[in-house]
Amino acid sequence: MECCRIDMIKHDHYDVIIIGGGPAGMAVAVGASSAGLKRILVLERHPRLGGILNQCIHVGFGLRYFKEELTGTEYAARYKKLFQQAGVEVKTSSFVHKVSDRKQVTFVCPEGELFVSADHIVLATGCRERTREMLTIPGTRPAGIFTAGLAQEMVNIHGILPGKNVVVIGSGDIGLIMARRVVLEGAKVQAVLEILDHLSGLVRNKIQCLDDFGIPLYLQHETLEIIGKDRVEAIRYRDNTTGRENVMACDTLLFSVGLIPERDLLIDAGIDPGDGIHVAGNADYVHDLVDWVTKDGEKLGRSLGNGNA
């Protein structure tokens, strides 16, 4: 479902520029349009709208907003219809890499590096996953280490299964979803190891993705070392309830150890939200349901039109 791809943008100054065409960005645009704003531009780095929903082929989306259980891709498709009715200008394959305190954004696209300004700039840039490097887990640097979201892109978009014998480190939702997903594709998941004493993701994901598939969740289990010269061969871990250490063989590690709101554009520019700079969706804080991202985004969008932002 391709969206109104155009070659160049229509104006050099907008009422609102929204960075990111995922669920948050689309919702802000819909809200702003409904409140009467006319010149709205969404800049999306990928060739199509939808953001991370495009790789979420599992169900669990839409119960609150559409009163119906949908997959992520269905949710995106439904919402894109609403979005298109709003008549908002979209520029895809456009990567924003700079925001200035004068409310100017710089973006790169196949037509060039362009500048555009607006009364309001909204970061709807989502979040990124924490990685093995951020935890500085000791050991080797073999092939076979992925974030759960990257594995999701590999399996669901490109149809490739990263490995056959998997350990998931961290019990975030994407990790739980991907544990089930790789099992459905024929891999074995040894376990989900969580350093904390409680699950990080949603309980329903634990039931539907781990319990229903016989995948064990080990709480208070700390990963101590990654083993394997060329390919991951095993991990060494410790059960922090007993202090006992052990080794678990595997050929692939999926990390689901937290999400970081993506706000580097503001951090790099040294600017804070406020005074026409806004943050929406998971770039603001990590929501557990996309439905809330949509509702919050629409509300923020409307407030821009009503002048109370």
């Binding site: 790169v108 073999p142 092939a143 060329d230």
Partner: protein, 468 residues
Amino acid sequence: MKTDVLIIGGGIVGASLAYELAKYRVDIILLEKEAELSFGVSKANSGIVHTGFQSDPGALKTCLAVRGNELYKELAKTLDFPLLPVGELVVAFPGELKGLQRMKETGEKLGIPGLEIVNRNWIDANEPGLSREIQFALLGPTAGVINPYETVYALAEQAAANGVHIYCDHEVTDIQAVVGAWQVQTEKGSFTARYVVNAAGLYADKIALMAGTEVPRIVPWKGEEYLLDRHAEWLTRRVIFPLPRKETKGVLVIPTVDGNTMIGPTAEAVPDCEERSTSRSGKLAVLASVKNLIPAVKEDQIIASFAGVRPTTREGDFHIREDREGFINLVGIQSPGLTAAPAIAEQVCRMLAQSTDLTPKEGYIAGRTAIPRFRLLSNRERNALIKKNPEFGEIVCRCELVTKAEVKEALRRGARTLDGIKFRTRTQMGRCHGSFCTMKIMSIMAEELQRPYDSISKRGKGTEMIKT
């Protein structure tokens, strides 16, 4: 296959030699056992172009390092690789001033220019992050930093442009002396050469043995390095050293070419040349040592860690010798080997010139242009590139702002693995550690190299991204 000179090893030493020797009318083949050049010792080098004053003044390696330092400036210009002339500072804690003075005298005898002992006022003005305990420091303004792998690729590209044949994934399995030549076996074929130069790094002693020559044994000596986020940009402007100990130069603070600060390395003898794991104890030791130098450094600034193995010998000095006729061993090229490499290449050329005619090559192609680095260009330069090739307008790596055109250019210049692309373009090196770009790069590789996904590897055979 027949050639005049066969170089075994495609690290900084082998590549420097290939580059230097390609100026002359000789046929040259370079064999590398890894999937790409620099993947052995060089890729994990700290990247410092030393002044030379820290090594034993009587040693061969010191002379070569001093000469190498001089050569790098011209080399970086000719081959268009970044060399930042940051300078180095050896810092002294109370009671260590004498050591600094001795070091300065040694350096001056070696002809190293600009050495100066600076006091706390200078430090306050120029390196305010240094610990208050540090009262004096020895400034070596001629030190610099380079990217070791980028330098290897620059040298090798220039060598290849001038006719050097480079074969990666070619591990030498046996060497035989035949009449007037050497026969070198690999699993992918046999090579006959009048001269063989052994620049095999960690395996140089084993290669020497295959040719029946005796050289000092290699003692693999591991070092862990930790890279800090660019938010902590350049904690110091210069390379900072404590006063060196006998076995290593200690834990350093290194401003890298790319604007991150690197701290390390540790120093530990390991039983295995391929032992490149990092450890919690290593990280804590590095942090503790660096905190002595720069109290503000913090653990949560670390964004990446890696380990490399140095090819040291008990003898300590470089072994550069024609140990049998036509067989030249370059063994124990440990620190300051990166600095010395261009001078080692000159030295080997002089050795070869004693028994063969080295006449300058007609039609030698001088100069090379680096892959454009989109992130570092102005708006006007960016738009000029995009106009010529719209793939400069497709961002593949979000953290380092690397474009599809740069990735494709890296492939055109010989990258065959994800690490090879990383080292040439800086994709996968930023804050997201490849979460965003890995699949995009794999798709570009699959398309450009016409290879299935399951053959695409991180750094060569055995490291395929997909386990089938």
